[in-house]
Symmetry: C2
Subunit: 498 residues, 2 copies
């Protein structure tokens, strides 16, 4: 019969002034000693009286810790013979804590998909800030915060929102109606409220569609360059992607003679190719719809920032042109309102609605009811239209200011042209540099952009930066671009020295 | 050169009193005729003057519709020779709208995973209502709505929440700190805030973990019977599940001689086996941790309703007992607050935190910032503790009322025993009926429960219903159980006749 005595007592350190009560401290430290094997199974513990005396604590402290450890199977009392470490926990020789090698030392610990995903998130090295050139940045100051607060407040106190469990898996019915009105009006979709499902942003829709429509191994056509997180949603489901180039009419169709079987799905950005900004021509739209019909393939139409258009009319969505029901349109309020609101939608052919809702209730579940209720009022009371009018003016002015500042401060490094829609311009590098290196170099100087290279699938592209203009106020633009120019100079000098 | 004339005009129907302006109506109807091929390519349209006269509309209406259709590639003007349907759209013979066969006629339209998921959502036939016996129902009336409204209001108007893009992919930092304090205090996890990631409920955590840790084909051990949507998260990633039975000590370990390779992950509910309600014994906890360590497998510990305990002390989490860093704990505020709030968390070993955040920023993204900020205050100002104290008392009384009412009205049909924790009792059927049939029969009478049969993987179990008690007020319980008894009688009579 081993006895603990000295070793146990030497390892205990109780702090009277800690937030945690003494009996919890004693419990935790004894548990760790047992789990790590430094108190091996079968060890007899000192008597309550000894511990009280040695530790200078009350009897109730010791008894309370012992009781908890006994209830949890760490200790066992033998009548008239004291308390022992139970055999459950430390049959083996003393173990080191953290006996698993760190992930970095064993490649197979996460899945191959997990490995694909890690490090891909651009947030890691280009954090969004209140003012930055990150392309997904919106004007925080333009957000109608008082209105939003009022609408949230209108619904936040209602107990109704808590009465229906997780909420309707299709989304809040009044919001589906308001979204149908909105997309029919602004984007000409021609859908009923029954075809609309509310999601937590576009990404959730991509994830549900990937699970719903694709088996692992099914090929997906994506634009090259194209939307990063859309592509990752499909890749994370084990689906290989095939990039198609983008020309002046938009995404080019895949060469059907070139492959054994047609792709099961194509993910496209017809309204405004992401990131290049090209609007798909009517002819190309017709070709894609015919492609889907001919092959029985799906088209996922990412329509996410189509409303932010400064000049010219938007062309109608593929969804509105497709009579054969192969098109699914995904939209989001991240760009027109704010990404942190996490609200979006998916418009589906009728017979996909229920399968999508079932899959969504597993994969995503609808967003918080209070947010859906507030957005309903925001749409139906006309606040979104007013906000769009305001931000279109604001962003058009910010773009002009950006282009002017680039012209003055950065024209020897990049060439940028006005865009008709969206939140960023393409800044084409005048020298044959690696754009990912340039973006990292600028990030080291606190200036955040996205490099075009991150958007490529396999195709080599001329180097460019996506320069977002929505997050920087017009009168700050010269200074912000000046900082970019200075960061670039510093990065170049560092490179020249090394 | 074909001319449209009569056929075109016969197909047009414009409504002066419709909400849509006349030019949009004309545009839409012409577009449909072109898309469906009833106006084939090359068709010459009647002149503007003819249309104005025939339709009784203004010239600007016709011109505006023609301009839009021309911009979109549907029409083409030939100088001095009128307007023609462009060749883009209707090269083929007239097509029927809806040329894709409905999904129901082609099994391969959705993925095999999609097919697995459809119809699985129990919401479809057991909708949560303000008062029902659905096991995930909470007491809507007990929710501290005024406090929640105040806290949401505190953050809803701040523009700060809109300044950092999608928000920190780990979650709002102050909330991670508040959750770490909470789980360390209430559940003894012993984690740092850096190990906590905020999610939109537990389901999102399961989905991210499935992508992060598993490759398609990897086996996952699940409890049989067990959590439905947790299992589906893994199945939807193409991972086969292997059910292990549950005995009086909790989930039984898989027989390792029986299989070629050990499972890569086990998903367990040690605090309170879902749905049976058994707390895993200390010995069984030690065995599972040793299993994970021996096989290099992961344990996902679903700790979702562990805080709602009415009697006895909760045993510590596997996370807190595991020194070898193979355990990930998933928690949710769906049960302690409300499912429609969509907030949960995942506590990870240090080296999984960044991979999880990367994958999560693709698969889920963090919940809306305003909800995270409000929950931070709700936790740090002690409202959750107060709410837990109140609901524990409330639910204990509701459980007593349920058991008493069952005793009086349903004891010849079911046998139910008091549970120490959670939101439902198991109502074991006294007759060898199919519990899924019974639940559907009751649902037809407006009484919603979940049948145990829905929770099984492969094992046959005695028939039972999960009867939730949290959603029904104490003084309504006799009547609600009376309705259940009446619905049961009616269902039985229908069956006897058929």
């Amino acid at each position: 019969m081993k006895s603990a005595g000295g070793r146990l007592l030497a390892g205990l350190e109780l702090h009277r002034d800690a937030a945690q009560p003494l009996h919890r401290q004693l419990y935790g430290q004894l548990r760790t000693q047992i789990l790590t094997g430094s108190l091996p199974s079968g060890t007899r513990l000192p008597s309550t009286r000894t511990l009280v005396a040695e530790l200078g604590v009350s009897r109730i402290t010791v008894v309370s810790a012992f009781e908890q450890l006994t209830a949890e199977g760490f200790l066992r009392s033998r009548a008239g013979d004291g308390t022992y470490v139970d055999t459950l926990w430390s049959d083996n020789a003393p173990r080191q804590p953290l006996s698993r090698p760190p992930l970095s030392e064993r490649g197979a610990a996460t899945s191959s998909r997990g490995a694909d995903l890690s490090g891909e998130a651009p947030q890691a090295w280009a954090p969004a800030e209140s003012e930055s050139f990150v392309a997904s940045q919106v004007a925080a100051s333009a957000f109608p915060a008082a209105t939003w607060k009022r609408l949230l407040g209108r619904h936040a106190g209602s107990t109704e929102q808590f009465m229906n469990g997780y909420g309707d898996p299709h989304g809040h019915r009044p919001l589906r109606e308001a979204i149908a009105d909105y997309v029919n009006d602004v984007r000409g979709l021609g859908c009923t409220p029954d075809q609309v499902i509310v999601t937590s942003g576009a990404q959730q829709a991509f994830n549900v569609l990937a699970v719903l429509l694709l088996d692992a191994g099914d090929t997906v056509v994506v634009e090259d360059p194209g939307h990063i997180s859309g592509r990752l949603a499909f890749q994370s489901q084990g689906c290989p992607v095939r990039g198609v180039p983008v020309d002046a009419e938009g995404a080019v169709l895949p060469d059907e003679n070139d492959v054994e079987s047609p792709a099961r799905l194509a993910c496209l950005t017809p309204a405004r190719q992401h990131p290049l900004g090209i609007a798909m021509s009517p002819a190309r739209r017709a070709e894609w719809i015919a492609w889907a019909e001919r092959n029985g393939s799906w088209i996922v139409e990412d329509d996410c920032d189509s409303e932010l258009r400064y000049r010219g009319k938007a062309l109608p969505t593929l969804f509105g042109l497709d009579l054969s029901r192969h098109v699914i349109t995904v939209g989001s309020f991240s760009k027109v309102l704010a990404p942190s609101i996490r609200l979006g939608y998916c418009v589906l052919p009728e017979d996909l609605v229920e399968p999508f809702a079932s899959a969504s209730s597993i994969i995503g579940r609808p967003p918080a009811t209070v947010l859906q209720a507030a957005l309903t009022d925001f749409l139906s009371e006309g606040h979104l239209h007013a906000h769009l009018r305001r931000t279109r003016r604001l962003y058009a002015a910010r773009q002009d200011a950006l282009l002017e500042a680039i012209d003055q401060r950065l024209s020897r490094r990049i060439q940028a042209e006005q865009v008709d829609a969206g939140l960023h311009v393409m800044g084409w590098l005048r020298e044959p540099l690696d754009d990912i290196e340039v973006a990292r170099g600028l990030a080291a100087g606190g200036v955040y952009t996205y490099p075009l290279g991150e958007y490529r699938v396999t195709r080599r592209l001329p180097p460019a930066l996506l320069i977002g203009f929505a997050g920087t106020a017009e009168d700050h633009m010269p200074e912000a671009v000046g900082r970019m120019a200075a960061a670039w100079d510093r990065w170049e000098q560092l490179g020249a020295r090394s």
